[in-house]
Symmetry: C2
Subunit: 683 residues, 2 copies
Amino acid sequence: MAAAPHHPFDPLTPDEISRASKVVRPHFGGQDPNFRVVTLLEPAKKQMIPYLEKEQKKQPLGHVPTRYARVEVAVPGAKSGNELFELVVDLDKDKVARKQHMKGKHSYIDADYMKAVENACLANEEVQAEIRTLELPANSMVVVEPWAYATDGMNDMTERVTMCWFYLRLLESSDANYYAYPLDVCAEVSEALQVTKVYRLPTKPHERINHEKKPFDRRRIHSTAASEYHPDLRPAPRATTKPYQVVQPEGPSFKIQGNHLSWEKWTFRVGFNYREGLTLHDVRYDGRSLFYRLSLGEMFVPYGDPRAPYPRKAAFDLGNDGAGINANNLQLGCDCLGTIKYFDAYHNTPSGEPLKLPNVVCCHEQDDGILWKHTNFRTQNPVVTRSRILVLQTIITVSNYEYIFAWHFGQDASISYEVRATGILSTVPSDIDVKERIPYGTVVAPGVLAPYHQHLFSLRIDPAIDGHANSLVVEESKPLPMDDPLVHNPFGVGYVTESHIVEEEGGFDLDFTKNRTFKFVNENKTNPITGTPVGFKLMPFYSQKLLSHPESFHAKRSEFGEHAVWVTRHEDHDHFPAGKYTMQSSGGDGLASAIEKRRKTGTAQSIRNQDLVIWHTFGSTHNPRIEDWPVMPNEKLMVGLKPVNFFTGNPALDVAVSTQDKNKSVLYNEEESKNSSCCSSRL
Amino acid sequence: MAAAPHHPFDPLTPDEISRASKVVRPHFGGQDPNFRVVTLLEPAKKQMIPYLEKEQKKQPLGHVPTRYARVEVAVPGAKSGNELFELVVDLDKDKVARKQHMKGKHSYIDADYMKAVENACLANEEVQAEIRTLELPANSMVVVEPWAYATDGMNDMTERVTMCWFYLRLLESSDANYYAYPLDVCAEVSEALQVTKVYRLPTKPHERINHEKKPFDRRRIHSTAASEYHPDLRPAPRATTKPYQVVQPEGPSFKIQGNHLSWEKWTFRVGFNYREGLTLHDVRYDGRSLFYRLSLGEMFVPYGDPRAPYPRKAAFDLGNDGAGINANNLQLGCDCLGTIKYFDAYHNTPSGEPLKLPNVVCCHEQDDGILWKHTNFRTQNPVVTRSRILVLQTIITVSNYEYIFAWHFGQDASISYEVRATGILSTVPSDIDVKERIPYGTVVAPGVLAPYHQHLFSLRIDPAIDGHANSLVVEESKPLPMDDPLVHNPFGVGYVTESHIVEEEGGFDLDFTKNRTFKFVNENKTNPITGTPVGFKLMPFYSQKLLSHPESFHAKRSEFGEHAVWVTRHEDHDHFPAGKYTMQSSGGDGLASAIEKRRKTGTAQSIRNQDLVIWHTFGSTHNPRIEDWPVMPNEKLMVGLKPVNFFTGNPALDVAVSTQDKNKSVLYNEEESKNSSCCSSRL
């Protein structure tokens, strides 16, 4: 990211990060603040709208919005071990503009603190005594995996409480898959790093917390070929896959300047922050405004095992962990194929210094098969174009799981958001004989249960369809009656579309049986050909809502899992559908509560022909299969956004036809391949 | 396709086609039979099962099933112009084994006959008189597009009746997009090529058949940039898309011998016929049987405009046209990228000679992003593998529309079936002023309406999950109650899966709100780790059912659009969910009727732990958008099949990790790209 001059949407530069913490530090007297967050406070939309318009028209920009940093600091407190403060720093004046004590709120997971929890846990005498009863094999190592405590009402959440799950590493390698050997020991650690509870986990179908202290069952030890994923610990891989390379002899079609990206009539700005990871801003096609901001708002992974203490497993991977902080360094991995542009990002160290996150976003093109084709059957002349897409991808690792998030841009002005779940299933110990079954999960190895869980994502879509006054239209396709004398449909084949415009904030469900389609339109701009408002439609991903009971903490804390499509009035910084602080939250901070509060207090505004925001909840009810073990082949979830009567025709009509001269495909020759030489005859 | 020796699943060779028609010809005395079909009659499953087993075990094959051809012949008849006969020819003995007069049935569309219809129509005096009233521009040309008559109960369907839709070609080029200028003249042509009716089409919202004879409105003539798709008729294309090539320096990973394909533990046989196009047989992974046969069973495209005569627009593109016959020659088009294997096929001429259909299937690999990844956060060591998929693709052109059908095979033993709709919307003339709206379509140009319609596909899945005795399981994910004293779920987070096994043939609907999952399992084979029956699950495509009224001919003729998932007992040659003869059908031949008949006559058999077949109906309610005009950017529909507790772990665990050495990605350098030279620094 360029040092300066920067765009108002650009993340803070390393220098700004240092300056912000320097400005903040004196506000904490003698204390040594733990800088949890030093990030850009995005400028108010009211200021950005005129700015972006001038920018688009290449006019003088005039007043540049004040540059602000948002800083979160944790300091030891009088009453609790960890007090959280939020400050806003004016970086133009190097001054604190606002300081607030976030009483009762917790910062996201502190990795250093979690390391200390692990150590405290393992060093604890009661824990060690418990481990001894396991009679573990020599040369094995106990691994403690600390997790945020998902509120269950059983504990005071004022201070941090950490759940410690125990695993066993049988092999010497640090990359051995310890999730293959979950132990039935569990511990809880307090804010002050005291181990407050040690107990045995339930391992039978209907068992409450278990007090039996059985030793580790050696019969559970299975072959490394079955339980390891690291190539050094496994048999040799298959050797049948021949190399596949992508070559762009004239380079890629994108142009990137700093965080500004232009590609095939698309332009937008790439943002990044510790929590949301990749964000996209001012997304336009052919200069026309489409989306002000696109981001993943939150994701929630609640487990469906009702046996205590498993209800404490429910992760807000953005709010608790941070999709930016946990983004993989893509350079090392060979995660992207072709001609790759990498974006770095910056987070901060606990002392407020810039911390580089290299290669957290990769950007590249990809061929996506045929874009459009027609052959006039009378002439037999085919015309075919291939679909080139632009991919922006990040990958996060959150303990055992990985999630790959990719934005795909099409030449036809369509956008896709693809989530892939991979990584390792969370496992718990089980002790059942052949005839028993634990109904809350799948046995993936002897003594190992992979519990049922859900993945729920909230995609935040801030449309700006040809401007900021948009409306949400819900359209359905309905058959005409066959026997109604007032309706001419004697053959019973007719159907029409019925639309209604949403007036108020709220949540909606999907219904494919009615072809229910959600469109964001600009009622002030009519398409000159179709005579209908210009718009974009959502291509949702159909998935089950949150299964947890509405009165459960899972439901109360997440909220967004209650409906598939939410619409709210735009508010600056309102980016988080489960609330700003999810760690040990008790609920009441999410979309549904905000909407309800506005209704009750009479502050709700119409969302018709206004600045609105859409939140699409989608995900998967993940009942593990053995094929997901020991590491899961990707499960794909895709959401799309497509123009509907926005343009005056196919926006990709001007894509050049596909030719062999450009594509240089190679004809496979059976005879040649039998002789083991490559197929070299080009078409 | 190899001449000989052939596999029982191999399509007929050119020689066999000649021989079959030679054997048949004498059976029609002095008449000159029009050979409509000369195709393989696939051997009975009862015979193939032991054959395939021996083949798989590399044992002597013993008895090879008799080689049969199925021949359909049309001859002029006494009562009607066109009598259809079906014969079965024993190719081992060169004898007719069976001959049947298919009374009242019509063969699929005869392209030569349709050409004759066009000519008869244009030559007809009444038609010419009607055209004159249009006062068409000089140098324009009327184009007649004949369509099969979709039964509407208004005509005797004993003989062929053809609907003629009229369009205007304004430009001289034969590739001009005449769909841009639909005319309101319509004609019907009889079996004997007589024009029986000429009239004007409805062009107003509530108009019945129109008798006003308005001239062609010159104001409708729009720019070629808006209405043409052929590059020779349009402005220069965008020049921003840089080349993207796929290189496989060691060739592809597949091995092909004749029609047998092996790739990354997959093996299967490629079949092809005039009607279904591409069929896949004996699909196995790592030698284990998965699917006996995979194919597209039918597709139905009914239009939703109730104004007569538009209810006659409803195309069975397989049964009426033939996905094999209309498959594109892929070599010419640059339809496939990379190292490509093409398969040819053979149809027959009207005189029964072999007719080569070159390059109707292309086969190649594709990179599909990351397959699986995990980074141990403690060591920061990432392990990532990329997903290589195998693609088998065909494309059909059916008048204005194109459909791209692609099978994708994954290294994780998953299969996807992807349909892309592209080509040109069907158009009808409209004559509305700015304030009027025709509620049955979208205006895509002045005077041009693209009517609402549906695309409904039926994917026929013949599972053979570790053998032929399979069951259909319907599983749902259900929350446990929070307040039931008998159920331990105090935190309200628990959920379980509930399954029931289907005993009888029938149709089922999708329900994502319950995470309803359809699995094909083998109850006789228990997974040694999970303790559950081995199986595969369907990843359906959620779409609206057929909108036409159940009493409409559209519904009665298609039947399969009534439910999303059908299950029937396997019967040889039972491949067509809307019946074997769809041309001018009246209904009663589809899945629902067959199931009902078996129930009523007491011949229904259990489908539990039996040889069953699944039919997945999916599609799209297509309410055109202007972006679909003049040629549609692809609309994708994807269905998946994935193993569920079939293997003992991730079947792609042994895929080699992704490395830069193999992948040779290129780092994009902003500075270099500014200097317009390619990015050459490799990672």
